[in-house]
Point group: C2
Chain length 253, copies 2
């Protein structure tokens, strides 16, 4: 049966044996016109709650596919509770960053407007679509939640008390107030009482301004870290920081 | 003076006070036509041996710039001894991977042909050019050496005795024969006698074949690791593996 699986798709409806599902237009088009799937073939389905399922394609039309859910093939696995807070950057690199963050298992994406963010509007729906496609491809069973953009001040003012922010501070090495990322992730238990909820904050290309840095560092629950001696681009820094977090505190053990 | 620095460039010639340098055609074009630099302005120079220097632009012509080296501004820093062995992938992602590996500080790039590598020819000169540009931008003072492509068999047959290979084995989690990357990097001293020279081996999209996996794992000096429970693309895996290595064993401490 496995050779007949034409695609892996995220759907919103509940998944249980016998459930009938008509794919939305984009997914129907993809399955029928791009993947050339036909009745009798299978797709993998997940909805972020009910685990991984096999569904049979029972009918196809012009860009349309009706499915019947057949069998649960894996129990639900949930990603670690890690938020990714990022200053949005130019289109291609933003898409890339959203894909990579999803692949690396963040649970929530939050765009943050900073002084050096040159972007007035952000298509939240496009970020969601991009995150869903990345989740389908990397075989995770959840899709990261995509939040609306807020300013840095709004973000910090409404910050939940029980969540740490790992702040990737590119100027941190100079004023000696940030730890190398590995050391910080390894030793933070000792001074913060076994925190489990985290967020990673990455600045825009060009970095945070000095006043933004001070604002961030003045807050409790902020762990400033450095990512080595070379200058990393914002998208590289994001991948690196998320991977290190997963390795030390997430589900890579 | 610092505000007048128009670019940071890699050159091959020796760097010492008073040295005169005429940039090659590409760099001359970039500096004069793209950056619109003029006589009296400065550039930063490095050659991988003599540290970081300031040079004054003494003359410009049509796509031509003559420089005079003025002052050493930083001593030479060398990157850790880390080779990056990669199955080349499609153009855009390959460029991206070379840039990121350079940014993250590898000392040598070695393309490796595998069974699932769909690529007959590789422009080694283009990879070098790409690596030089990335080195200029990320402020490292060396440029990674770019080696010609070899087959996986050739690579392993000529392997130096004193260098470990961190093998990113995507199938390693299933047969339980690979360690989580953080654990492997943390504990390898105990069983391999403080190795200092390393290489990171990443497969093509689609992975190594079973026989290739066995071939790699049959060799001494191979440390098989896993990179978490989700499927990572080859370019993501590369960034992640290099960053973890730098954090545990490289120059991020």
């Amino acid at each position: 049966m496995a050779e007949n699986i034409k695609a892996r798709l995220y759907v919103e409806s509940d998944l249980r044996v016998g459930q009938e599902i008509t794919l939305d237009r984009d997914q129907g088009h993809y399955l029928v016109n791009v993947m050339r799937a036909r009745g009798g073939e299978y797709v993998g389905l997940f909805n972020g709650r009910d685990g991984e399922w096999l569904a049979e394609i029972v009918r196809t039309g012009k860009g349309r596919a009706d499915l019947r859910v057949r069998e649960n093939i894996a129990p639900q696995i949930t990603e670690p509770d890690l938020w990714y807070l990022f200053a949005p950057i130019k289109k291609a690199r933003l898409d890339y960053m959203v894909q990579k963050a999803t692949e690396l298992g963040v649970s929530l994406l939050r765009p943050v407007r900073t002084m050096r963010t040159n972007l007035d509007r952000l298509r939240q729906d496009k970020i969601s679509k991009n995150a869903i496609e990345a989740a389908e491809q990397c075989e995770r069973m959840t899709v990261p939640e995509v939040m609306p953009m807020v300013t840095l001040e709004e973000l910090l003012d409404g910050w939940p008390e029980d969540r740490l922010i790992m702040f990737c501070d590119e100027a941190g090495a100079e004023d000696q107030n940030a730890f190398p990322v590995g050391k910080a992730l390894d030793e933070v238990d000792a001074w913060q009482g076994r925190p489990e909820k985290w967020a990673i904050l990455i600045g825009p290309e060009g970095g945070f301004t000095e006043s933004e840095r001070h604002l961030i560092r003045s807050r409790a629950h902020v762990v400033p870290v450095t990512l080595g001696p070379r200058i990393l681009r914002a998208d590289t820094a994001a991948i690196v920081a998320i991977a290190l977090w997963q390795s030390f505190r997430g589900d890579w053990q």
